[in-house]
Amino acid sequence: MDADTVRATSTHFPRSTVERTDTADGAGKVMSMKEAVAAFVHDGATVSIEGFTHLVPTAAGHEIIRQGRKDLTVVRMTADIVVDQMIAAGCVSRLVSSFVGNSSAGSLGELRRRIERADPAPLAFEEYSHYGMVCRYLAGSQRLPFYPLRSYGGSDLPSVNSDLRKVTSPYPGPDRKPEQIYVVPPVNPDVTIIHAQRADRRGNTQIWGLTGIQAEAVYAADKAVVVVEEIVEDEVVRSDPNRTLVPSHAVDAVVVCPRGAHPSFAQGYYDRDNDFYRAWSHISKDPERLRAWLAEWVYGTADHAEYVAKLGADFWAGLAVGEALSEPVNYGRRL
């Protein structure tokens, strides 16, 4: 009759469901970036950092660098500047990705040195396509053993990535013959970190504009940290429940970090710093210059608030955006 006895028998249940942090008012989830990284990102962990060009959790990556995490496996569809920085800081030993470039602005210098010349150390790399990564998150979030997709037929990728495998459909194909399809395995990060526009204190997270694969990356993970531009009152979130892409039951930590996506952008909050993307190709090409950049902007700042202040008000004015409000919809109330 004891609940704990019952619980103990269901050994296959993911850890996450019982261990999500919470307090009566949910405020236990709200913490500083420092606390969240210390609590949820451990040496040797598999860390998913998602945000497809939009809402890249850069500030979280910087805090991981400041805390000197080692031997991480980073899972990220578009491994871009923040990943190059984490690699350069010595945090990353393995990368799982479908695009390793500096957006359309050039190269990632450190990543290329690692992969091309093992300089200063090798980097293990698992290469996928975008939809392959999407499907790995879908499988991970849905607790599926694999996810099928109509990609990879004829590609050389399966020859360098043995996790791209094939399954025969138990239904006949269009020509009535057996049909084969590639599948990818689930990814289940130890922790997923995403950036979002806003959440309530319990972690109900609202994102608009490009929503990418963030919700699935959160559900796929054992722990989830949501970094937000602002925490809003419960009433704001509840006025538009369809906007909540990540419900509180999937979130372990809520971190308030305005402008934490820079040089990426937050739709409706600040624009993308395209100049920095272009600059990064040059900075990262020169290991000395890269080290100096990290020293000044990451190690040299105590937290993201200092980084933001250091950039200065004029700089941020240049990324300011105007207003384009959504028209309200009526959810209705019973009379």
Partner: protein, 258 residues
Amino acid sequence: MTTTAPGTVTSSELLSVVASRELAARRTVFAGIGLPTLATELARLTVAPRIEVVYESGVCGAHPSHLPETIADAVIVSGAEAVLSMPALFGCVLQGGHIDVGFLGAAQIDRWGNLNTSVIGDWTSPTVRLPGSGGAIEVMANSREVFVVMRRHNPRSFTGTLDFCTTPGPDRALAEGIRPLGAGVTRVITELGILARSGVGEELRLVAVQPGVTVNQVREATGWDLRVADTVETVPPPSEAELRLLREDVDPDRVYLR
């Protein structure tokens, strides 16, 4: 609407109160409509203030202005914390393993907690065609544990052999080589008492009787040779406080209370 005389406890009230107590320390519950709604809302006011109700329709963290009449009632949508798509609800929340307790009902249940909601009689030409699974198969397969509330406790409903197994517990799944996530049915709450099991390989056994009910009465009402716990407790009757909350705060309009 009927008014219940003070002191008289109806079947709905009894079942709701007993079920609500079982929700202590649970975080997420997948609730159908009716008795599970009453039990969950009462638990929120008593033993599980932070419990999150997840509805099959996609609503998480509902804050309804009125007691919902369906699992898709407009009042559970307005003011909710999240409304998810059906693939997200079934795929990520349920199959992803985020539900502590799922509530299910059934026309028939067997000693392992397997359920029939498809047909009475033969599937191809049934005596009675029932609604079918809905999401019950998924609730059973993916919740940490499942509570069943049965309005009728008799040998036709509590049967030695299901006419059809719509919703299998983990024992049947394992026999087919499919690994279940949770424990299956861990509590069956009826007017006569509480049956329980803790997981795979274990039959339901009688662990408590309602006041005034004998172990023998429950055995006779059960269509298989019911196992009985070494110590059978007597269910504490609904307290004044529980009944008041249920009648005045949870369901003042008697939507489900009878």
